[in-house]
Symmetry: C2
Subunit: 349 residues, 2 copies
DNA sequence: GAGAACGGTTCCGTAGGACCG
DNA sequence: ACGGTCCTACGGAACCGTTCT
């Protein structure tokens, strides 16, 4: 009884065989009709298409992936999703790969110990064609499995020395640009509210800090170690740090923050303590988040093309996959947004 | 020659057969060892595990999905990713489904015409086990294919009347709560900066507005139609709208905004025009975004548990999939965050 | 442990028509 | 008019790597 006939509307999704039966052709023909229609005569093509329509057929991705050894899926594994700008990166990445019919498979493990590795392994098991790693630590196990599984992968915001293709900016230069702005304004003594710089994960942060310090030395601008606070990123952390800085009475006239989160929080802390920005204290930072132009005062910050980093990664991965991509249009240019949170230093008290 | 022997380190990923050959067992045994280790004798289990280790074996998800008819993947298709709080929803969703070993497949089509449908079809083709729809319009084609493909799905922020399981809040009530705060403060004449309310996509926005208006009537508070501006969400739009409102000279003492983006932009616009918030004008809104407590002045806003909506959706979908989930812990409670952007109305000029 | 699904893709082969000398 | 060749459109079947009986 149970022949290979088309079941008009069973409760199971229609398969290729169902379509073939209804159209009176073989499964191979249906497959070809769908993937390379020009190889099929118009007449049978119509018949097949009709059957497809009628049965509401959609391919089974698992079967397809198994046969083709291509899933048309790009993995993105993200350490610390919430507390950073990764959402924007993901958005850029998604929009880029979607152009070629790829879909993003997302994993955002909470970073503790070796989840980095297990998350990566899970991605690989899912059969992604390529993989984007955001904020990776570069554990041994990680690099090893990456080497064993020869699929294209890119580190976003990673350490170039960790091996593999890295996408990011010249953070040392970024640090310099920001500091020079402060120097140009006439500041001689500044404070820092920075992120953690220890772990390998904080590579970028460390590099940026080096750029700041080198430029400070060059411009004879003093960064008092007592006026440097290292903390996590976040508004509240910035607010708290600013108050600490104030209580230390170090004579600084400006604060350079590692992120807009920190900076906006810091401005809030300063204002709560009765200081005016920028009259009493200048504040500058990095990233140019969407809110930064609309806080009060608008924040002077170095614009980082975050979304573009995601797009660039997508472009790279796709081209590695053999997709025709053209040359990379994503330039990753940084731009200092001079707004109102920085001014000349107040005359010394 | 080419027997089924293990190839220690070819350039192809090891398969189940390779592991089986190396361990001297059948593929079935290996499969069981991996999925239900307790069924296998300790001795052979060790042998298998060793082979797995040695070959760096990881399962082929496509083959597994094909055989089990389960991909352990949840689709999330998102209309208008960037311009909303969907990133947080996605984060919540991801964290919830990850607990049970599921991964998110992400699609964020640019919404124009029927992309909603094609994106959905693409997800289905990928073989997701369940699907979360964020910000859907409820096109006919969409609901039809959803009906045909009997997989669990949930609409987030959708219209309950559109059919299907909807997750969201009582927006009418939310509108009322915000308005009553303004009424309690003594405001009699207020303005609105709101999002679009026309398209089906804006269902939530419309409902919230209805709640506001109903409460206004009840509390004898006047909403001057000339002081209502409908625009897109965004800082710049808010800033622009505030200036429009000012030039209309309508005697309003407070502005209620549909989102924090709008509100923060509006405050900026007011400040640029020389007004002080809240002395000259109160501003309130909805969402309680992360930056809202740190702008100047801190924004009074109705906290919406956005991340929790994502988690709740994950919980629902997983339980529909037959995972043991326990009762739903996500209550979705709203909370008015009274900060400093609202005060009593200034005495009339 | 053997072997049949699972649902596609793709290689290979062939029927049949067009075209040629 | 006929045998041979080339080409196109399609059918048949092997194969992808698991799971489950």
């Amino acid at each position: 009884m149970n022949q290979k006939t088309a079941q008009p509307s069973a409760n199971k999704p229609a398969s290729l065989a169902d379509v073939a039966a209804m159209a009176g052709v073989s499964t191979g023909t249906v497959s070809r009709t769908l993937s390379r229609p020009e190889m099929i005569s118009e007449e049978t093509r119509d018949r097949v298409m009709q059957a497809v329509q009628k049965l509401g057929y959609v391919v089974n991705g698992a079967a397809r992936a198994l046969a083709m050894r291509r899933s048309h899926t790009i993995g993105a594994v993200i350490l610390k999703f919430g507390s950073s700008n990764f959402a924007q990166v993901v958005e850029g990445l998604e929009s880029e790969v979607a152009k070629k019919g790829y879909t993003l498979l997302l994993s955002a493990p909470v970073p503790d110990g070796k989840t980095e590795f297990t998350a990566l392994a899970a991605m690989l098991a899912r059969g992604v064609d390529a993989i984007a790693l955001l904020g990776f630590e570069g554990l041994e196990q990680t690099t090893e499995i990456l080497a064993r599984y020869p699929i294209p992968h890119a580190h976003l915001w990673g350490d170039p020395k960790g091996g593999g293709h890295c996408i990011g900016l010249d953070e040392s230069r970024n640090g310099r640009i920001a500091l020079e702005h402060l120097a140009d304004l006439g500041h001689k003594e500044i404070g820092l509210i920075w992120g953690q710089t220890q772990s390998p994960l904080r590579y970028r942060s460390r590099l940026r800090l080096q750029g700041v310090k080198a430029a400070a030395k060059k411009h004879r601008l003093h960064i008092n170690p007592d006026a440097c606070i290292y903390t996590e990123h976040g508004f509240e952390q910035g607010r708290h740090a600013a108050k600490q800085l104030l209580s230390a009475s170090t004579g600084i006239t400006a604060i350079l923050c590692a992120s807009d989160y920190l900076a906006v929080g810091a401005m809030r802390g300063l204002q709560e303590s009765g200081l005016r920005v920028p009259r009493d204290m200048s504040v500058a930072s990095f990233n140019d988040n969407d809110f930064s132009a609309y806080v009060n005062p608008p924040l002077t910050t170095l614009h980082i093309p975050i979304r573009e980093v995601g797009m660039k990664a997508g472009h790279y991965l796709l081209s590695q996959l053999g997709e025709a991509m053209g040359s990379d249009p994503h330039a990753l240019e940084v731009q200092l947004k001079i707004r109102e949170s920085c001014g000349a230093p107040a005359s010394r008290k």
